[in-house]
Symmetry: C2
Amino acid sequence: MTVEKNRRILLRSRPVGLPKSSDYEMVEEEVPEPGPGQIVIRNKFISLDPAIRGWMDESEDSYLPPIKLGEAVKAVTVGEVVKTANPAYAEGDLVMGIHGWEDYSVSQGESQSTKIAADTGVSPSLFLGVLGSTGLTAYFGLLDVGRPNAGEVVLVSGAAGAVGSIVGQIAKIKGCKAYGIAGSKKKIRWITEELGFDGAINYKTCGDMTEAIRAMCPDGVDIYFDNVGGEILDAALMNLRERARIVMCGAISTYNVKEPQPGPYNLWQLLVKSARIEGFLIRNYADRFPEGAVQMAEWINQGRIKYKEEIIDGLENAPDAFLKLFTGENEGKLVIRP
Amino acid sequence: MTVEKNRRILLRSRPVGLPKSSDYEMVEEEVPEPGPGQIVIRNKFISLDPAIRGWMDESEDSYLPPIKLGEAVKAVTVGEVVKTANPAYAEGDLVMGIHGWEDYSVSQGESQSTKIAADTGVSPSLFLGVLGSTGLTAYFGLLDVGRPNAGEVVLVSGAAGAVGSIVGQIAKIKGCKAYGIAGSKKKIRWITEELGFDGAINYKTCGDMTEAIRAMCPDGVDIYFDNVGGEILDAALMNLRERARIVMCGAISTYNVKEPQPGPYNLWQLLVKSARIEGFLIRNYADRFPEGAVQMAEWINQGRIKYKEEIIDGLENAPDAFLKLFTGENEGKLVIRP
């Protein structure tokens, strides 16, 4: 397909609540030329993520400066270098970075776009999900922080989510027993029947969570991968084995809470079980992403890791598709193929 | 000194509150003979510990079965083997174990009495304190769980206590900066002027604890050795450096609390700082006690570790001395030399 024009979706006004179509404008421009040191990227896959909503606000609370009015909506994309004025990039290189809702993006080069492997044997779109920060959160969180040994018991909350579902599957690959906690029958069926989890609990219907975990994991838990904090963390604490490890991945929700939230009531179990809780941020693993992505791609090619991805064709569908993230209509990683 | 008789202090009645002199009876018996597999120990130092009070109760809540009425009060002692019917022990061996308030104890051998090094160059009484479980709690907790690197910042609560005071001194030996939190001017003077701590805070008068730690350790804390939990833990959490470690040693007090106590409000800092909290129990290090005691004895001989020990002569003074533990009159490790 040859695109002669560059379609772009610009932010025209700052949304109040969920963005409306009048907050955007789609324009067609000439395909840009790179300035010195720049590259031009043909976007092949555009990631839709809740964070984009934050970038649409004026406030500077988030990681990135806000999107300026009249600028293309920012998003992580995977694309191909089609023009280069930067010796570090060649035409045809596959890159990933924060670009935009547009056919072609101009990138500043190294500070904005990272080269990714073209020979993984899987769709490059996966770098936006299972080979990207969500999948690698599972990968490095479990392997580097949790350090599983074959035969150990791994429990994960948010088990049907983008991170949790991968945690359980990597645990199985490493010879562990994998157990999950999720919030619906459908999710539990998926992780136990399709992903190979050894068991799962529906936290909405299981009654006493501590007892439910005990019934499922009568010998206790060696690694609890915590995506949620709160009561489930407390229940997991009561089911630790000696030298257990709790990987603290979630609980980011507490950032937005105005009232300070108490920590787990059962933290003293760390003492009794010589156990630890350890937090981590995936951005500190940025230099090891290639290593993780290569391994994950291999497992995917072997059919040992399954994931959910929903690809929607057509740049013009980005605004509507984006809303699915907030209504829970999407199934798996949401990607636009412009 | 030759003791021809075996003086023994027997428990006659179960105390209500603090034990009274009428709860004990001192008797003189013949020096016992060992049965098959047994040894007879001449007690040289008897440790007075608050746990003994628990052993005087009928209840089986504590680690050990209660002291029977008519039996000698149990205590950890260091003594010399004077008679042996067990090939694993020779006369003159120095041993440590749970024996009694008596000149001579009959021991079941391996299950009760552990041989300790006689060639440490320090008083064998120190095996009841700084070379025993309190000093080694500091040693293994800091070195094995905290894993300090030279140049790092170590903060310890309960800093003038038997564990905390050693933690700070070992931190200094390892090339760290050592900071303490304690509860009186006198304690703060002792740890900073005599033990070499780089700074200390009086938690009773410092005002906002988070700010006080920040002022003392403006670059943050690499290792927080937690002897107390609660608000001080929360304040330490707000002052962590990247990859900080919290050694969870105290907080045993929560065992006795009827109402569940919330954990730290600032636990989410573990996530932001890629930090961990790890608990440990010193009894899991039993097989490494000799290694720790040898190293600690060397540092004591070099004058690099200081400690407080109060030795009281005369078995007959054990009941009165024991009460000091509950009124706070003792200064340092309390030991009876019978």
